[in-house]
Amino acid sequence: MTASIQLQRAPEVQYLLRIGDTALILAQRLGEWCGHAPVLEEDIALANMALDLIGQSRALLTRAGQLGGQGFDEDQLAFLRDERDYFNATIAELPRGDFAFTVLRNLIVATWAKLLWERLLDSSDAEVSAIAGKAVKEARYHQQHAADWVVRLADGTAESRRRIDDALATIWRFAAELFDSDAVDAAAHAAGIGPRFAELREPWLAEMTAVFDEAGLAVPADSAFRSTGTRGVHSEHMGFILAEMQHLQRAFPGGVW
């Protein structure tokens, strides 16, 4: 077995990993649909979006490794970090649920990501800005795809409506974490790397409301509940994802295709 790497939690590294890990872990959940989606076209769409997210994540993890000064590459960061050193928002690691849950989560995360990438275009870090230039285009497609499905399910049959209602009741409280600000994003913002996450909340809610209006869904009330994945404290689901994702590199250190 390969020992876990120990991350020094420099704020700019943790900031980039919050974004990169959210993409990486959501990609694992989307990848689970491969071979299981309700129709072939959506099977392909979800796998395609998972690929985009893995590509974005690879670029961000690589950059985080460079900024951290510990010499870690993307593979070490993905495969050799323990759970507490993963900083994805908890919403990304929740089990994939049904298709309604999946597209609603995609809408929440893609809308956040699109607004975030738009801000990261102006990053003081040229590499982050370059990554954003590509990713923002992909996030637009992800958001549009998810928004179309949320409207279609909410305005579909009684069964599809029930499923989107259930998904909304389950997931909404996990969205709040995406907009939590703390010392990490304060430091990243001060360095010009990217925005405070709290700044994204208002435009995000406006775009979510536009979709919900079209879908005939009401924006749920805020909850006092806060998930804490971005601080490294995850739900019980995270360990299972890492166990599956990291098994090969842990069992066969340095193994390549």
Binding site: E41, I44, I54, G55, Q56, Q143, A147, D148
Partner: protein, 175 residues
């Protein structure tokens, strides 16, 4: 600088000719030059030839194959040693696909992308009763077509079908 070199170094102009024959592994009807993936060829005299590539999508699995194919073609033409460097910014756009590349895509059965700027709107919903703008079928030319899915066999394409000749076809999405 590189533009000047492109016109002055025989090695560079030979390399461009070779690269124009390297096909995209996912869409083997067009070359990496047609797609606008090759951004620059730089002759570091007495050193490796540098081929500058801009990846299409963040997660495009063809990127590594393209790097390999490019280096293999340069080596086979005796223009090596060469190395590939990736340039992320400015981000690749379908606007970089050449007119020739778009013509080849259409002949291959893939409707080429329109201008990418048209996609940069927030979120849009198509009124349920309204007819969407239909793409012409690349086989029979009919506009009686419909989109089946926003994604296709690769992330860069959407899946459509023709309601007249009944053939499915793909659309290279503007991005």
């Amino acid at each position: 600088m590189s533009l000047v070199e492109a016109t002055t170094s025989p090695r560079v102009s030979s390399a461009w000719q070779v690269l124009a024959t390297v096909l995209d592994p996912e869409v083997p009807a067009v070359s990496v030059c047609d797609l606008g993936i090759v951004r620059d060829v730089i002759d570091h005299h007495g050193d490796a030839l540098e081929i500058v590539l801009t990846p299409t999508y963040s997660g495009c699995p063809a990127t590594e194959v393209i790097e390999h194919d490019v280096l293999a073609a340069i080596a086979a033409a005796g223009l090596g040693p060469a190395r590939v460097s990736l340039r992320r910014a400015p981000a690749w756009t379908t606007d970089w696909i050449s007119a020739e590349g778009k013509r080849k895509l259409l002949a291959y059965g893939i409707v080429p992308p329109g201008p990418a700027t048209a996609t940069e709107v927030p979120i849009r919903f198509i009124p349920r009763a309204a007819k969407t703008v239909a793409l012409p079928c690349p086989r029979c030319g009919s506009h009686h077509t419909e989109r089946l899915a926003a994604f296709g066999s690769t992330a860069c394409k959407a899946t459509w079908r023709c309601l007249d000749c009944r053939e499915p076809f793909e659309h290279f999405k503007p991005i």
